[in-house]
Symmetry: C2
Amino acid sequence: MGVDSKLKTLIVIGHPNIQDSRTQQFFKEAVQTFENVTFFDATAGLEIEKAQQLMVDHQRIILQFPLYWYSCPACLKDWLDQILSLSGIEETLANKELGLVVSLGVKSSEFQAGGREKFTLSELMRPFEAIANKFNMSYLPIFSLSNLSYLTEIETKQALIKYQQYVSMEKSFSFEISEQWHLEQLLKIQKNHPKFEEKIQMLIEEIEENRDELSTLEHSLKEMKEE
Amino acid sequence: MGVDSKLKTLIVIGHPNIQDSRTQQFFKEAVQTFENVTFFDATAGLEIEKAQQLMVDHQRIILQFPLYWYSCPACLKDWLDQILSLSGIEETLANKELGLVVSLGVKSSEFQAGGREKFTLSELMRPFEAIANKFNMSYLPIFSLSNLSYLTEIETKQALIKYQQYVSMEKSFSFEISEQWHLEQLLKIQKNHPKFEEKIQMLIEEIEENRDELSTLEHSLKEMKEE
């Protein structure tokens, strides 16, 4: 009963120079073992029809790009201008999910009222939200990542896990789904790295024990509410 | 004492096919006799440095484009990505005005909460407002125009005058400045079309009479407030 076993995700990258981007490399490595994740380079010439076919096959569509003048780079806008005008694109996109992975050159705290950039990312990304609205897509919360050189080692590892979740976890980010997702990741590691088997087994048992305890607590809480 | 005699305006057009656009033709004809208005085609190849030079010479910079997927067309984004990264561009743009002329494929009333497009144009154009903010430019109210075929003859004429004002009138759109602007336009017509001389002279006299009356009213109002 895998949480991410059915969700298929298409990541459309819009970057003028993917190869030289440390951030894009980071994202790619984070999900390289994820079977249901497909990368598509939006700058790879005139593969517009191929992209539409890929969209048919995937439920979650993510636009991944560095912020260029408060929007996506021109190369991605060019791709959008073309693909969103294709015939049949309404049917292709309806009821799918649209997510954004935006890498920032400045600290994310600058994007707020009173911050240097004045507007939030949610405000600046309205045109993408409007596209989701237009095509009856479900708009996901934006995933943003500041320049990796600003992050500590721990922050980088946290970003890695959050990105993996953003790409592969079901939309209702409930505690239960999150827990189930973590269990699956552990099982994957256990399978691929037998030498960690014992340690991972211990972790899994701990998570399961915690879950039992949580269930008991939830049950008590429910009873209290009903009294 | 001309209102628009000093203001120089650069109109940067971002349109994949200017020649075939009835709306772009409409805009161009509306200000063809305006001496201080310069048009620049953002799709005209690699004239980025020339554009920067033009920006140095003009006080008001207008980006003029059809709305493509809730933003500017890719060709204009490409131009912006390039020009805003030039060295010295901060000094070029500081304290200038940034305006947007956006032509819409749907009725402008759809751009509001509850409307089909859900967001206002002001919200969708945040990235441009953020650019103005970044470069210490003064952001003008957006000028938008729905498909000309939706407009009545009178609405079209009104749009023409509003566009002329947007391009050439001083920023503080006070009644006095607006009146002065209209007087100048009449004087221009009088000069170029002598056969209308008498009619225009009458109009000018009427406006001047109205102004005297307005002054009297304003004076009375001020006295009443002071009592």
